[in-house]
Amino acid sequence: MTRATVVAVGRLAVDYRLMIVLVAVSILGAVSVNDFVAFDTFQSVLNRATIVGLLALGLTPVLIARQIDLSVGSTLSMAGISTVMLQPMVGNVPAALLGLLVGVLIGAVNAAIVVWLRVSSLVTTLATLLIFASLALLLTGSRPVSSPDPRFGLGLTSELFVIFSPRSLLFVLAVVAMFVWLRYTPSGRRLYAVGSNPPAAASAGVNTNAYIASTFLISGLCSGAAGVIQALSTATGSPVAGAAMLIPAITAVVIGGTRLEGGRGSALATLGGVVALGALTAVLEFNGVPSYTQAIYTGLLLILLITLDRLVDGGGRKAVRTHGKTRAEVIPNPAVTRRKS
C-alpha cells in the first residue's frame, strides 16, 4: 500500500470508528456470551449506561465549543448527596429539583471563572473538580448517606416498553433534544462556529462568551441530573459516586467522534459512544473481568482514539509543527481570543 492509501484507510477508520467499535463489541459479545445480542441485554446496557451517558451528553456541547469540563464527576457526587440530604427536609420532588439546581450552580461557577476571569477551562474545571469532590466529602463526613424514602426512586430502573427503563428513556429523550438543538436550530449551529473558529465567530457577531457559558450550564445540568437519578435509583448519596466516571464519560464522547479540538461532534454520536462503551463493559462483566481491568481497557481505548485523532487530523507531525503548541497542548480559550481581536 502506498502512503496515501494508508492515510485514506486511517481516515476512514477514524471517521467510522463508532460503527467499528459497535460492531466489534457486538461480535465480541456474541462470540463470548450466550444470547448476548438480545433486547434484554440492550435494555440493561442502556439502563446502566444512563449515568455515564448523561455526563457524556453534557460534555458534548462543551467539547464542541472547544472547552472541557473535568468537574462532571464531582458535580454528580454533589447533586446526589444534596438530593438525599434534602429529602427529609423538603420532600422527594423538591429535593430532586434542588439537586439539579446544585448541578447548574456548579456549572455557573465554572462558566463564571472561564468567561469572566478568563482562566482556561482545563485549569478551572481541574480546580473545581478538586473543590467539589472535597466539599462532598466534607458535607457527608466521607460516608455515604442513605435516603429516608428508598422506594421513591426504585421505579427509575424498572422495565418500561421493551428496551427502556424510565431513566434510560429520560436519557434518550435528552439526547434527542440535544440533537435537535445542535443540528436544526441557528443557535446550535453557531456553537460549532464558536468551537471551530472563535475569532471568526466573534467577528460574525456571535456572542462567544454567552455560548461558552451556556455549555458549562448544560454540562452542570446534565451531571446534576445524572447525580440525582443515580442517588434516587440507588437510594444512596455517595460522596465519591462520580470520582471514577470522568474517564468513561470522556471516552464515550470521543468514541462518538467528538473532537477535543472543538468544532465537531453530535449528540446522537455520543449516544452511540455511550452504548458502545456500555456494551463493552457488559461483555467484560459477563466474562468475569474485574472492574479495575475494565478501567485499563477504557483508558487504553481513550488514548488510542485521541492519538488517532491527532495523527489523522493533524496529518502527522509535519503539519502540526507549523502551528506550534496551542491547538494540541492548551485548549485555547476563545474568550481570550475574542478579547484580543
Binding site: L130, T298, T307, G314
Partner: protein
C-alpha cells in the same frame, strides 16, 4: 529569559512573584504561633517538612512540566502507586534494593509514555495523563488484586525512615533533589530549552530547540520523581495500597502554583516550588492544628490554585500575552 522586558508592570509582577512565597511563609508562621504554642517548635516544623518531603519531590518534577507549558501531570497518583506497590511486592522475589529500583524504573516508564504521548504525539497533556493514570492505576490494582501489599523489614526501609544529623532522611532526599533540579532548570541548556518551549514553542522550534524532547523529558522526570516518592513512602510505611498517591497531583500542582510558577509556561523556578512545598506543608499543618476536618484540605488548595491562576492570567493579559 523570563522577564527581559522591564516594563513597570512586569517589574511589579516580578517583585510580587518573588516576595509572595517568603511572605506567605512568614505570615503562616505567625498565624501558626498564635494557633498553637507547639507550632513553632523545631520538632513540629521538621515533622511538617518530613510529611511533605515525598510529595515535594513530585512538585519538583511538576515545575518542569509547568515551565515547559505542559500544564500538569495528572497521572502522578498512578506512578506513585506503581513505585510503592512494586517496591514492596517484588521484595520477596528479588530483594529490597533491586525491588526499589524496579519500582522506580516502572514509574519512570509511565513517565516516558506520558512524554511520548504529549511531546511527540502532541496530545493534550491533561487528557493524556488522565488516560494513562486511569490505565496505570488499573494495572497497579490488577497487580495486587485490589488489596494491600506488605513489605518485609529491611535495612533500606530503616534507612529511609531514619534521620541523619537530626534531620529526617526524607528531607535530605528532597533537599538534594532540589539542589540538583534547581541548577538544571536555571543554569543548563536543557533548562533554557524548557523556558523557551513554555514561553513560545513556535519560536523555540524555529531556533532549533528540541521542543518535543524537552516536553517529553519534563513528563518523564515527573514520572520518575513520582516513582521515587512512591518507593520512599512504600518503604517507610511498610505497606501500600493502590490509592496511596491519591491527591498527590493536586498537592504538587498547588505547591508549584503557590510558588508563583505559571501553569502556562515560560517562567518559574525550582526554588519557588521549594517555597511552595513549605507553604503547603504549613497550611496542612495549620488545618490539623485548628481542628478543621481534613477533607477541607482539598477545598482550600483548590481555591488557592484557582485564585493564583486567575491572578496570573490577569497579569499576563495586562502585559498583552495570553
Amino acid at each position: 529569559m523570563t522577564q527581559t522586558i522591564a516594563s513597570p508592570r512586569a517589574r511589579l509582577r516580578e517583585i510580587v512573584a518573588r516576595l509572595s512565597v517568603p511572605g506567605a511563609i512568614v505570615v503562616l508562621l505567625i498565624i501558626g504561633s498564635f494557633v498553637s504554642p507547639s507550632f513553632l517548635s523545631v520538632g513540629n516544623l521538621l515533622n511538617v517538612l518530613n510529611a511533605n518531603a515525598a510529595v515535594g519531590l513530585v512538585a519538583l518534577g511538576m515545575t518542569f512540566v509547568a515551565v515547559s507549558g505542559g500544564l500538569a501531570d495528572l497521572s502522578v497518583p498512578a506512578n506513585v502507586a506503581m513505585g510503592a506497590l512494586i517496591t514492596l511486592g517484588a521484595q520477596e522475589a528479588v530483594g529490597p534494593i533491586p525491588a526499589a529500583l524496579l519500582g522506580f524504573l516502572v514509574a519512570s516508564l509511565g513517565g516516558i509514555i506520558n512524554g511520548l504521548l504529549i511531546g511527540y504525539m502532541r496530545i493534550n497533556p491533561i487528557i493524556a495523563t488522565l488516560g494513562t493514570g486511569f490505565v496505570l492505576l488499573g494495572l497497579s490494582q490488577l497487580l495486587v488484586g485490589g488489596g494491600i501489599v506488605y513489605g518485609e523489614p529491611s535495612a533500606i526501609a530503616d534507612a529511609v525512615s531514619g534521620s541523619i544529623l537530626g534531620i529526617p532522611v526524607f528531607v535530605w532526599i528532597f533537599a538534594l533533589t532540589a539542589a540538583i533540579m534547581a541548577p538544571l532548570l536555571a543554569r543548563t541548556s536543557f533548562g533554557r530549552w524548557t523556558y523557551a518551549v513554555g514561553g513560545n514553542s513556535v519560536a523555540a522550534e524555529a531556533s532549533a530547540v528540541p521542543v518535543r524532547f524537552t516536553k517529553a523529558a519534563a513528563f518523564a522526570m515527573t514520572g520518575s520523581l513520582s516513582g521515587l516518592c512512591g518507593v520512599l513512602i512504600g518503604l517507610s510505611n511498610g505497606q501500600a495500597r493502590p490509592i496511596i498517591g491519591t491527591g498527590y497531583e493536586f498537592v504538587a500542582i498547588t505547591a508549584v502554583v503557590i510558588g508563583g510558577t505559571s501553569l502556562f509556561g515560560g517562567n518559574g523556578s525550582v526554588l519557588r516550588t521549594v517555597g511552595g512545598v513549605i507553604a503547603i506543608a504549613l497550611i496542612s499543618n495549620l488545618i490539623v492544628l485548628t481542628g478543621l476536618p481534613t477533607q477541607s484540605t482539598g477545598l482550600i488548595t483548590g481555591v488557592i490554585v484557582i485564585t493564583a491562576v486567575a491572578v496570573d492570567v490577569y497579569f499576563r493579559r495586562k502585559e498583552g500575552r495570553t
